[in-house]
Symmetry: C2
């Protein structure tokens, strides 16, 4: 059987027809048009499903289910998405609305959760018994897979690892709390620290690469400058990695997964990031004589969203 995977983002919506091994038979993208009434967006998602079925050269009868990854959560009991910030959605009856257009079972889960599922079936954590996927982007998302199944807790509100407090009384977070993991280990955190450092370090490679314009700074500029040995960038990356290591060790101390997978935009820094994180984690491990999670980079890139969403129909 085949599965449709839909990856709903703030700017674009991707769709694909996926095999049970996570292979993509066809895919297509449309603009989200965030801000429109949810009925319009969901109608577009239904049409995207039909479009990719056609593009794959298969029939709707070959499709087992539709899986949807959203930057939020879906209440499994009601099919309602309580809120989804990027789309401005609040209490959207997603499943009943999409059923007005297309008659297939629909599974909805968090976008990081489905990306973690994708990696655990067809990516770097394939074959592992348990994994935690960490998306290092604008914020931090988490995708927990236990015994091959996505784990979102009993009420569906788990795996929000970005809002684990690692610094009581620290930086104010968008969630209203202080000191959340994503305030220190997201791309946003790197950019914030680089902007703070810029006025005092006009000699930094960061200043050169952003043409003296703080608005141009992104995580890549900071990492590239650190790779080139720039002192300011190295200091920012070092602080960043220390916080990331604290968050990772917290997850190891609580959940002890087999693999921790780093994905999202920041993970594009590659082995430079990976090696630094592995080194920073080592001295923080509690049971120093025991094995602990290997830390790896995600492999599926931006296709993880549609692959994992599709696989919800098989693995949930």
């Amino acid at each position: 059987m085949l599965y449709i995977g839909i990856d709903v983002g703030g700017t674009g919506i991707k769709g694909g027809v996926i095999t049970e091994k996570g292979e993509i038979l066809a895919k297509h993208s449309i603009p989200t048009g965030a801000g429109r009434p949810y009925e319009e967006v969901i109608s577009d998602i239904a049409n995207l499903c039909f479009l990719v079925i056609g593009k794959a050269g298969v029939s709707i009868r070959d499709i087992q289910s539709i899986g949807v990854g959203v930057p939020g959560i879906c209440d499994p009991a009601t099919g309602i998405i309580p809120f989804c910030t990027n789309l401005g959605w609040h209490n959207v009856p997603f499943i009943s609305e999409i059923h007005k257009h297309i008659d297939l079972p629909v599974h909805v889960d968090n976008d990081a959760t489905v990306a973690g599922l994708a990696e655990s079936v067809a990516g770097v954590s394939a074959g592992s018994k348990s994994s935690i996927f960490i998306t290092l982007g604008t914020g931090i998302g988490g995708g927990i897979v236990i015994n091959g199944r996505p784990y979102s807790g009993i009420h569906g509100v788990g795996s929000e690892i970005g809002h684990m407090v690692i610094h009581k009384g620290g930086e104010l977070c968008t969630c209203g709390n202080r000191g959340c993991f994503e305030r220190y280990s997201s791309a946003t955190a790197i950019i914030r620290e680089a902007r703070k450092a810029l006025p005092d370090h006009p000699e930094s490679l960061i200043a050169e690469r952003c043409h003296g314009n703080p608005e141009e700074i992104d995580a890549r500029i900071v990492f590239d400058s650190a790779k080139d040995g720039d002192t300011t960038a190295c200091s920012i990356v070092n602080d960043y990695v220390q916080s990331l290591a604290i968050g990772i060790v917290n997850l190891i101390n609580i959940m002890d997964p087999e693999i921790i997978v780093l994905g999202g935009g920041v993970a594009a820094a590659g082995d430079f990031l990976l090696n630094s994180v592995r080194e920073a984690v080592k001295p923080l491990i509690f049971y120093k004589d025991m094995p602990y999670a290997s830390i790896e980079l995600a492999r599926l890139g931006s296709d993880a969203g549609i692959i994992g969403a599709a696989l919800l129909g098989l693995h949930r």
Copy 2:
């Protein structure tokens, strides 16, 4: 069938014969005699098993297995306890050693994990699908139960929630890291803060209750003084509860259990603690429109150790 449960503590070792419902048929305690060669302690544990079998009026043939809760962990692959601080144990081959004396299957797990299992079978979280037990004692231990089974992760090093960092760069912990949860939310933390406050607040009820001797301060004195409205004690308890709430909300954001159970010495503060914690957790919750874990006090008291250890044979 019946099960033997052994609860190994730093000063005493308790044993009991337990039914599959968690009822105690017989129990007995012996001193640990920590510091002796591990062979002697384990020989005493084997004899304690025979003693409680006799006391229960049953035969060894009625016993399915022996479960042991230790203040440490046991490598499930080797049966070796890598370390167990209170007993001064390091790489003790527990299972092979006890098998020199008694021929029954042996399961070993962390003491907080088995207490959590006990509560989830015969205590406050009975019937729940997932729970996290938090022991608030000298340190903080965690017992995670998912789908009725104790969860210690893939390498057996999980559920060490006391060493989740909630305050980057904060108080130095016995584990070598800084800012661990147990530095802020254990009985030790309350006592430390009360001792710090004492010189500046000789008028406090804490000073009266400890007869001016900081060495006499325990968590109970601080909570009793707070219940009586003492300003110094209220301030200490308030800080304590805030940190405890942060740790609890971190666990909710990551694992989203059905119930969080508070046990250990500090939980003796009862409803005064429970109500404060529930109030402090509420504003920190991420998905404010969604249901989240109920927070409850443990019910089984000091018997949880032998009950949960015994039940390892049935639920692992």
